[in-house]
């Protein structure tokens, strides 16, 4: 009743949630078996930043939006260059795309009629 079947697959969120809780419990048990002999306030509990010195002001420590995915965006730069150039923000271009799609749809619909 609470699950979904698509005819070839099934999805039961209650079963999934129970499994999720089970895995959570197991991971907590594993965590509690860990080494308790570390020393607080020494290098053992510091953030490891590739061996660099950890900055101490919160503003410098924060990972900002710009800092995320720059590698991926750089890797896809060929795509992003084009797609950014495409979003010009000029109303005439918006309308040009509308007219273009309208023409294309006409051609397809008339061809398959």
């Amino acid at each position: 009743m609470n699950g979904l079947t698509s005819g070839f697959g099934a999805w039961n969120p209650i079963a999934w949630a129970l499994l999720f809780v089970g895995i959570l419990v197991v991971s907590f048990i594993v965590r509690s078996l860990g080494n308790k002999g570390y020393k607080r306030g020494t290098g053992q509990t510091k953030v490891f930043l590739s061996g660099n010195e950890e900055p101490d002001t919160p503003d410098a420590l924060h990972v900002r939006g710009d800092h995320l995915y720059w590698g991926m965006i750089d890797g896809l730069s060929a795509y992003y260059r084009r797609v950014k150039a495409w979003h010009t923000g000029i109303l005439s271009d918006y309308v040009a795309w509308f007219v273009g799609v309208l023409g294309l749809v006409f051609v397809i619909l008339v061809l398959v009629r």
Binding site: M1, L4, W16, F20, R64, L68
Partner: protein, 518 residues
């Protein structure tokens, strides 16, 4: 009670319309009186939408409402044709009405606190109710010209909402662009309606649907309707106005603008399935829809990834979700000639996703509105560590984000699961794009969440706090919708989504016969 259900379709439009024009007058009495009026209007409208939905879902057949009625009994007989304006509410319309009611209700109550100490709020609520009335009208009407009128009402109200804060520079730019695009789409829809009227002499959807022959003029009208309505829904490559509009509108309105786009999408589906379902090659039209959907999904998500403005980032995410609805319904349309089992699954997924998207996107826009109001900036790079001060908002944002990205066990996954499976049956390529884009969308929201909420409390953001309960409660209500629909999808799919999907996919004859007789 029966009189109330009989008149529910027209009351859904009349009450917000009356409220819209009464708001500036009552607003002279003070904010309390105005808020009471607006709150009453949205509560009554939500109740009526629920009542109508229960009525239509239990009856299983379309309900007809005749404007100035009493002359005819429906269904007509003996070759009579409908001459008056009809409202025809089938399960799909009632389902859309529920979505609009949910967004109008939460949006209005969120707005009360959002506009508490800001100017221009009487205008805002007037336009808000006008937009709600227009959206309900588009969903309930059974008449093509009437549909155009409501389309234009939503256009004018939506564009005014985007740009009514005339002191903001970019909102004026967005307002002009959005109004120009909406008007263009409306005029081409009107041209198509004129073409159909010229041939068949009817404006009623059922009467037109039973007479369409699929001539060249019909096909041109279909092209105009398809492109015009797809543009108003924000399908790539005609989507550029959408991030401008969603991004520049006040935060609670952006959610209603998404509901407006969904209403255009509903109009598109009504045209494709009911009006043209038997007179054109549904396979080809379905594939046009699928191609537009894939572009929308992929371009929307990849553009969201590079945004550094919180509202615009969520706006591009909302654009991409329109694609999932089009993908589900497009797959259903592409195979509707043979009607295999997975076609209905695809329809269920696409239609269920409309409701889920409205809840999740609404939640995200509300949360980002709360963030922008507290932090005073929209720039993600200027935010940081907001979760220290805004614990509950960050939880709401996180739930909305993971639900929209299709992470189990929330509602977005339930509908996307149906779409993935059905799209895979048609072509694995479709499912690959859909899944990949969902993962990218999760990455988008990881970026937004990390940049805005996580990290140490930065000096500029040290003062932020959670918004007042008036803004928290609507968000919590939407979180409940997200979680309950996610945990019990089977119940909702069986009781409200499947009837709506069947009304579109299989219900063409029922829709026509309810007016014209068997």
């Amino acid at each position: 009670m029966t009189a109330l259900t009989t008149h529910a379709p027209v009351l859904l439009i009349a009450i917000p319309l009356l409220g819209a024009f009464a708001t500036p007058l009552i607003g002279k009495l003070g904010r309390g009186a105005r808020n009471t009026l607006v709150g009453l209007v949205v509560l009554v409208v939500a109740g009526l939408a629920a009542l109508l939905a229960v009525d239509v879902f239990t009856a299983g057949a379309p309900t007809i409402y005749e404007m100035g009625g009493g002359t005819f009994t429906f269904p007509l007989s003996g070759g009579q044709v409908p001459v008056r304006i009809l409202f025809e509410v089938d399960s799909m319309s009632a389902f859309m009405g529920l979505i609009t009611a949910l967004i109008a209700l939460t949006g209005a109550f969120f707005s009360f606190s959002y506009w508490k100490d800001r100017s221009g709020s009487n205008l805002y609520f007037s336009l808000f109710l006008l937009l709600t009335a227009g959206i309900f009208g588009m969903q309930m009407t059974g008449d093509m010209f009437n549909f155009f009128v409501f389309l234009e009402i939503t256009s004018i109200a939506a564009a005014s909402l985007v740009g009514f804060r005339v002191w903001l520079k970019q909102s004026q730019e967005a307002g002009f662009k959005v109004m120009a695009m909406y008007t263009l789409s409306g005029l081409f829809v009107l041209l198509a309606i004129g073409l159909l009227y010229g041939q068949y002499g009817h404006l009623n959807i059922a009467a037109l649907a039973s007479r369409l022959t699929g001539s060249l003029t019909d096909v041109i009208a279909l092209g105009l309707l398809l492109t015009g309505l797809a543009m108003k829904a924000g399908a790539v490559p005609m989507h550029m106005w959408a991030p401008d509009a969603y991004g520049e509108a006040p935060a609670p309105t952006s959610a209603v603008l998404v509901a407006n786009s969904q209403a255009s999408l509903y109009g598109l589906f009504r045209v494709l399935f009911t009006l043209f379902g038997a007179s054109v090659s549904t396979g080809a039209v379905g594939w046009i829809l699928i191609v537009l959907a894939l572009l929308t999904i992929f371009v929307g998500v990849t553009m969201a990834l590079i945004q550094n403005d919180l509202k615009r980032l969520v706006a591009y995410g909302a654009v991409s979700q329109i694609g999932y609805m089009m993908l589900g319904v497009g797959v259903g349309l592409a195979v509707s000639a043979t009607k295999p089992e997975f076609g209905l699954v695809a329809m269920q997924g696409g239609i269920f996703h409309m409701l889920n998207d409205a809840a999740c996107v609404g939640l995200l826009f509300f949360a980002s509105g709360a963030v922008i109001r507290a932090s005073g900036t929209r720039d993600l790079n200027a935010m940081g560590g907001l979760a220290h001060g805004m614990k509950w908002t960050s939880v709401c944002f996180a739930i909305g984000a993971v639900a929209l990205a299709g992470v189990p066990p929330f509602n977005g996954f339930a509908s996307k699961f149906l779409i993935y499976e059905a799209a895979f049956k048609l072509s694995p390529f479709l499912a690959v794009i859909a899944v990949l884009s969902s993962i990218l969308l999760l990455a988008v929201f990881v970026k937004a969440f990390q940049a805005a909420f996580l990290g140490p409390r930065t000096t500029a953001m040290a003062h932020v706090t959670d918004p007042s309960p008036g803004m928290m409660l609507p968000m919590v209500a939407l979180v409940l919708v997200v979680v309950v629909f996610g945990l019990f999808p089977g119940f909702f799919v069986d009781h409200i989504v499947t009837p709506a999907a069947k009304a579109l996919w299989l219900g063409r004859d029922a829709y026509i016969n309810a007016v014209l007789g068997g």
